[in-house]
Symmetry: C2
Subunit: 505 residues, 2 copies
């Protein structure tokens, strides 16, 4: 390998500075959702806009283009997953996307999506789709423009997807979702026809907020979230914000009469947080210090929330502690009954409340509809009708209003078209990674029963976290599991879980 | 008046942007002291350094110098306290100070003061002045250099003072402090010889933290702190951070066995906060939207904490509420006894715990010693001896160690030489302003007895807050009270309070 050119180091220094400034916006964004006094929101908007503008100026500086051009012939000699090659690959991808979009377009998008979030909120509250419809139309128009500007070879949706899941294609996701659906739908049907309804009464007892917090924090700590490098706070909409090395913050919301919301929310966000906390800090500010994709990020949260957190061995360890913490609420409930309660399958209207099996149908529905709207096959005005019809077919239920239907999610109002599939990709990757972990690490259930999660966490760090964006998602998947992404591990996992619970087969 | 040149608006826009970026650092600084996970401190240091650098680049941009030069002849025609004239006067002051100091000097100062705060902390903990001495020497050397670079006509201390109290002079402060001292020392002696010791037992009872918070927040709200445009949080070292319009945050610390710490701390910080919240938001980012000086800022905190918060009429209103909130702790204590307890005068070692009378002696001591160290009349190595000797003369007590002596305050380790006198200036201004308010508003005590603070708050806003830096402190004082700053109102206030409490005369 020829010596590393000085222009590479210069490029990296520039990007680090832009990321550092971006991380300041990360703090302000977290603060906005946790602490900002109501009258401070105009100032916060101005602060965020200034930081965004300054950061954008840094990442689209012509100097970056020049350095990338300079380094082209040098990087061509490197192996494709060498540190510098991977960094340059991803820097080029973001840079080209960023410079393609004219400033006026970016500003228009920011303006429309800011207004449209407010209108979506109002429409949702009023259960009146028409309030939101003209804004959705504007967003779709802008996203079509964006796809055209960014460019694509096959499907305009690819251009949008690329922002969240670099390297993924609409065709490939369509294929794997179709295969998933083909086995998932009969599984859910079998569950519904089993005649068994699992009781969730134990989850709806008395769970004082402060004790939930104590219990949730202890569990998050035990699976590996480092509270010396992070925090847990309360917000209406839970999230994880990886601000930078040593500072990753998660949030949750407590319902004093329902156990799942905070606890599985905390495990979920802690899963995201463990990924952020175990990125390689020496690469902070460059692609190698950043998460691979939203799908891979979601695989980490789903893995800890579901694959681990809703497993029987996990509760072998935690149920006695739960009983200690909430003695009267859990009194007389067996570990088996508790395990059944947290795993009940029940088609329902709201995605974020869905169980592990039906959740993916919610995603497939959105994935199909947003493609149709982008191409124009579906008009925005026809969305409620199309949603309800498709929902009836898939879930056997008709949403009584659009709040429980096509107005439930914020994503489209934020311009996040192409975002939804990453949730089910996360479930698929989680299952495939967990299968590989079980093959390579042996008796993980024994670990969980003993409250020991360090081996799994270390394996995830070695296999995924520490690489940052060195490998694209599909390469990572191949390296870890020896196979491309498939629906099979998730189906096998769901079948193994629900067959005994619902007396199937 | 000739038309406002476009270069004026351009200059203001540039400064607003720099202030907006500075306000982002304000959020990060607040977060650092309230929420930052321990492992995030390196990242936070890097973020703060970047924001400081970018802001410094903005405020020292040659464009600002050019605009100032351009506008010189135009501004000469304006009345000196016209909006634009005042803005340009203060912009010029900061700009000239900022560009005079070479970058290398600023960086060296930042480096030394960062290290030296750590060494001060260690020295204080170990009660070992020698650990801190070489750092104090370096700081003094740098501050002498700073004074020389910035320039002064009379005393090098003037150049440092100017940063905190623009327009004030060492000679003038020396004079007013001397006059104050001449009457204060005999007053304190008379109190000590009165043979009366006021009991503070009631303050040291059981005050649960959550109830203290509730009580303190209610009082802060009642005097006029707007919690829709601010917050109250907990920190080891209480402070007020005015981030910008609509966002001003105060902190306190709770001692469950001592009432004063949190309650009077909250009133104090709320006083600062009310100033910040009532600056003119349309001038945000320019001198007219910023507080006049540290002395004037402190006058607002002291006024609410002491002049109002430790007054008998205030407790006519609040004592019944206190008794309701802490029934067993306050049971059997009369309002008079409570009022006496919160006003006990007692010479003591620690400035921040001092009563209203002896507090100012703590400041005079520091003001004298830091001048002597700056000029070289006092060597850093001789500080502990000089401190203890002077302390004995002034307070009749000898500090048993340097933690209770010359190592108690953080200011010198931060390079804050010239900062201390603003505390007593605050007390002096508070008394003089309050005297004027009583003259102009009539029966304020009647307001306080009724729990009504709106008239006083509005008067302070009209007289002080809304002007920002339109007037320098001494002009403001003259406008409000018709006289230059004097020791008399403070002495008259202290005599009126302590004569009955200690049966003097």
């Amino acid at each position: 390998m020829t010596m590393r050119p000085a222009s590479y180091d210069g490029l990296i220094a520039q990007l680090r500075e832009a990321s550092l400034l971006g991380s300041c916006a990360g703090v302000l964004g977290w603060d906005e959702r946790t602490n900002l006094p109501p009258k401070g929101s105009e100032l916060r908007g101005n602060q965020m806009a200034l930081l965004a503008r300054l950061t954008h100026e840094m990442v689209t500086s012509p100097k970056i283009g020049e350095a990338l051009a300079d380094l082209e012939s040098w990087v061509a000699q490197l192996p494709p997953d060498a540190e510098e090659a991977a960094n340059l690959r991803e820097i080029r991808r973001s840079y080209e996307r960023a410079v393609k979009l004219p400033n006026a377009f970016v500003e228009e998008m920011a303006r429309v999506t800011t207004r449209s979030q407010g209108m979506w909120q109002q429409a949702r509250q009023e259960k009146n789709f028409q309030t939101f419809q003209p804004w959705l139309e504007q967003i779709l128009k802008l996203k079509r423009e964006e796809a055209a500007i960014v460019g694509y070879s096959d499907h305009p949706y690819d251009a949008l997807l690329d922002e969240y899941e670099p390297g993924a294609s609409t065709a490939q996701i369509t294929q794997v979702f179709r295969e998933l659906s083909a086995e998932l739908v009969p599984l859910i049907a079998a569950i519904q026809q089993s005649g068994i309804t699992l009781s969730t009464d134990v989850l709806e007892g008395d769970y004082p907020t402060d004790l939930q917090q104590q219990f949730g924090m202890a569990a998050a700590k035990q699976i590996g979230f480092d509270f010396d490098a992070g925090r847990l706070d309360v917000t209406t909409h839970p999230f994880c914000s990886g601000i930078g090395p040593g500072d990753c913050r998660i949030t949750t919301r407590y319902n004093p009469r329902f156990f799942n919301e905070a606890f599985f929310g905390i495990l979920h966000e802690a899963g995201h947080g463990i990924y952020e906390q175990n990125l390689d800090a020496t690469h902070f500010g460059t692609p190698l210090g950043q998460a691979t994709s939203l799908g891979i990020h979601e695989s980490q949260s789903r893995l800890w929330e579901n694959q681990v957190g809703r497993s029987r061995p996990f509760w072998d360890h935690f149920f006695p502690k739960l009983r200690q913490m909430f003695p009267s609420t859990v009194a007389g409930v067996s570990p088996d009954a508790f395990y059944a309660a947290i795993n009940r399958v029940q088609p329902s209207f709201i995605r974020v409340e869905a169980d592990e099996a039906t959740y993916n149908l919610h995603i497939i529905l959105r994935f199909e509809l947003e493609q149709a709207m982008l191409t124009g096959d579906l008009q925005a005005s026809d969305l409620p009708g199309a949603w309800n019809e498709r929902f009836r077919t898939m879930f056997g239920l008709t949403p009584p209003d659009d709040k429980l239907g096509c107005l439930q999610d914020i994503h489209w109002s934020m311009g996040g078209i192409g975002y939804f599939p990453t949730y089910t990709l996360g479930n698929l990757y989680a299952a495939q990674f967990m299968e590989a972990a079980r093959e390579q690490l042996g008796d993980l259930d024994g670990d969980f029963r003993a409250g020991e999660f360090g081996r799994l966490k270390q394996w995830l760090t070695d296999s995924i976290h520490r690489h940052g964006q060195r490998y694209r998602a599909e390469t990572l998947c191949q390296r870890i599991s020896g196979r491309p992404l498939s629906h099979r591990p998730l189906i096998a996992y769901l079948q193994a879980k629900f067959t005994p619970l619902y007396g199937l087969r």
